[in-house]
Symmetry: C3
Subunit: 366 residues, 3 copies
Amino acid sequence: MINSLISIRDISNAGILGLFELAQEYNAQGRKRLDVAHNAIIATLFYEPSTRTRMSFEAAMLRLGGQVISMADPGASSAVKGETLADTVRIVESYADIIALRHPREGAAQVAAEHAGVPIINAGDGAREHPTQTLVDLYTIYREIGRLEGVTVALCGDLKHGRTVHSLAQGLARFGAHMICVAPPGLELPPALVATLTQNFGVNIDSFSTLDAAPLGDCDALYVTRLQKERFADPAELEKVRHSYVVSHDSLTRLRTNAIILHPLPRVDELDFALDGDPRAAYFRQAAYGVPVRMALISALLGLRDIANLYETVHGEWGRYPRLYNCENARCIINAEPGIPIRTEVRKDGTRRCGYCEKMEAACQR
Amino acid sequence: MINSLISIRDISNAGILGLFELAQEYNAQGRKRLDVAHNAIIATLFYEPSTRTRMSFEAAMLRLGGQVISMADPGASSAVKGETLADTVRIVESYADIIALRHPREGAAQVAAEHAGVPIINAGDGAREHPTQTLVDLYTIYREIGRLEGVTVALCGDLKHGRTVHSLAQGLARFGAHMICVAPPGLELPPALVATLTQNFGVNIDSFSTLDAAPLGDCDALYVTRLQKERFADPAELEKVRHSYVVSHDSLTRLRTNAIILHPLPRVDELDFALDGDPRAAYFRQAAYGVPVRMALISALLGLRDIANLYETVHGEWGRYPRLYNCENARCIINAEPGIPIRTEVRKDGTRRCGYCEKMEAACQR
Amino acid sequence: MINSLISIRDISNAGILGLFELAQEYNAQGRKRLDVAHNAIIATLFYEPSTRTRMSFEAAMLRLGGQVISMADPGASSAVKGETLADTVRIVESYADIIALRHPREGAAQVAAEHAGVPIINAGDGAREHPTQTLVDLYTIYREIGRLEGVTVALCGDLKHGRTVHSLAQGLARFGAHMICVAPPGLELPPALVATLTQNFGVNIDSFSTLDAAPLGDCDALYVTRLQKERFADPAELEKVRHSYVVSHDSLTRLRTNAIILHPLPRVDELDFALDGDPRAAYFRQAAYGVPVRMALISALLGLRDIANLYETVHGEWGRYPRLYNCENARCIINAEPGIPIRTEVRKDGTRRCGYCEKMEAACQR
């Protein structure tokens, strides 16, 4: 398999820091068009709309001196003619040197990477992974706080759903960060994830049910995510608790002057517009860092810049064994893609998981 | 506020002529790709489809040596996730160095310009303004007739609705042009606009209700716009009068040999296809001038070429005072965008208007 | 009329071979961005979605060093405002130096070419022509088998419908190839086409009703196309016969080791995924050749590289005489486009055909 980025777990801590150093270099060069990727074309294949993510990849490639071809509109794709994703990437690889793929199916980027002759960057595969968002989140802390090791980050909002915050928690844990979780009852970080992170990385994870109760004064960063009405059994319940998770000037008085507020955006009302002028409000800078981070990633995956040990395994926590399972996760790519082999992973902890969407056997076995 | 073009009133007469001189220079260089904007990216953000306008901006940027990222499909935008326009432009400004924005809401470009850290070009905000179309219209007359001052222009069609012809009338008045208006009863140029132009600029505006009656022989240019069925209370009424506003060979016999026929396009049936071969039919040349004019504008707003006194105030006709009004214009951006301050302008003539859509207080006050 | 490619019949055999030599040259240069088309912009105007074809043109132009503007989404076009295609291309010609047009109407590319001041490449006009697909098909055989003259090609699947296989059959006949046709009863190559090819080019065309019966061992290439359920009066009929047209390992045992399998893609189930690893499976290479072939074509039409006798007439088989017919083919462009002249061709064989969609008078006369 060609160098690809499917999951944040694909790349090592050393690799992440190497990418960040390169991102710093690109950031320092401002808006100059470089000549690094003069001969390269990126294809942005977006089977789901995401203007911001797509434009961020395209701007990154253009700033590197490369070019772009784009499928921004899912309705305009060959997929409507019934073509498999595997076939599509085998064709697009002859038009482009690297592919950024957004797809509604879990495991889609994995399938693409196994069939393409060019690097695949997972720009979001359903509810599963969006690793460049995690890289941007981590880079923002790295750049603005100065380090990742030992930082204290508060995660606030819906911590149960949403790939963004799960991936970030894993990334922070890998670098030895402390986490303070602030979530409404029922929307806490999944206990299994907390257990894994605590055991594997020895990090502290403290939990609170309101922002008021949380020790914001200890934090280097406050990471806010959306609360979505549809996640509450009784939507009226959200209105009752929403104010406990809205970041306002009161929260700011307790935050250090050199702390930062992050948000993956788009926000709805969990970040008061009045915060925008505060220098600690880092969420638009965070969005802007998407360009140098993706520039660094594209350069590395295309082999234009060397990042030492990019793919050195972090966990070594599972192996892969082909087995005759079908995945019962309706959103898994395997249920939409004929011609790809069924595959189950047997992990160190004994669980068996779908090789694409990573759902456990309980949900997978037939 | 960064240099932007929201309204044709933003820029001075000297600035317009400066842009036209630069457009002449670019036009003379043909289809060569220049290196003027080598380091720049334009984002074309089109919340409404307009292939021609979008492509014109993109071709202009590419001919300047710059690059393009594009959102051509409103359905594919982050706006469907509920993001405000202000947030979107604050993100896109980190991907692009200048933004051309098309949006269905009146005042949208104003909001974008107030939040973006890069220049905004209004590529149409609802029924309000489309200043680059006005620049292209004026440039066509400037280039083909040789001057703007003192030219005589007939405006024909629906002169009541449509930002295109209102903006052009203002532009022509500013340069001291005479206007001959030809419109069906009920679709004349709004009397308030006629009064303003006459008083402020001392121009002559004569009105006729059919092309036959109008002194076409006096005109340097005949500007034709569409009659739309839906503008008539009784659609059958249109069929009765339509022939009085169709430009045909008969009209041509009365036009000078060195006069020109303009149309913002697309046309429906108000310009006979048989005219296309006549050298006075300038409407396709007019469309082509969109490229050098937008090249000049992009160069100026990016600071790549200096246009003297571009922003020198023309009218000084109003000041801005924040007041607690809400705009009741349902199509105004303020009713779709949380987090932007309510603002009312008090003009020299005593009227109070919404600071975004410019509707008068009568329609604004609560 | 400017140099355009509307039909594969527009260009001579010498011209096709000249394009192929240039494509070989481009292919040999790998993925380097050339500087051949530095000053040129291609507009890809796709009134029907076709991501693969569009991206292939765009990658070709970018590899040549040129730039791209694109309309990928038919819903986003000015056509929804009722603009004629003729008007659209007269405007887009001022933004771009060459236009690749995909349109649902038969004859659309012909209309575009007659009005545009820049070359038009037909990227598919309804059911009629898709000449660059034919060039890519022929180039794949030329490149992989080493010649076109005297090769033996099996055509398998629905040979009655589908422009792809008809154009290929004509192209093969022009170069003196032998054809073996394998089709279900009722979906054979149209007898009129067989008669024309046999008479005009003296080629052998043998027919079989199953792959098993066909002498695959004699073939240099096996060209497979889709069987579409909707082409069968009784869809259950397809299920009965489908297996007779599926290419599987058994077919491979009878194919020469140096033969190739082609498919215009996307495939459904007529090519077993298990074939993909076989070196004779050339369909993804075929898709990849789309880039160098389109690079060669763009270079030639822009006059950046000279192809000797590109437009030398092959057949001289018809003349054009204006006559007062309306075409009754509901899918013909003439029925959607006001302002284009009605035109009938009288061919050498005495038939009269619409000058746009080429349907015979029987279907055209009023």
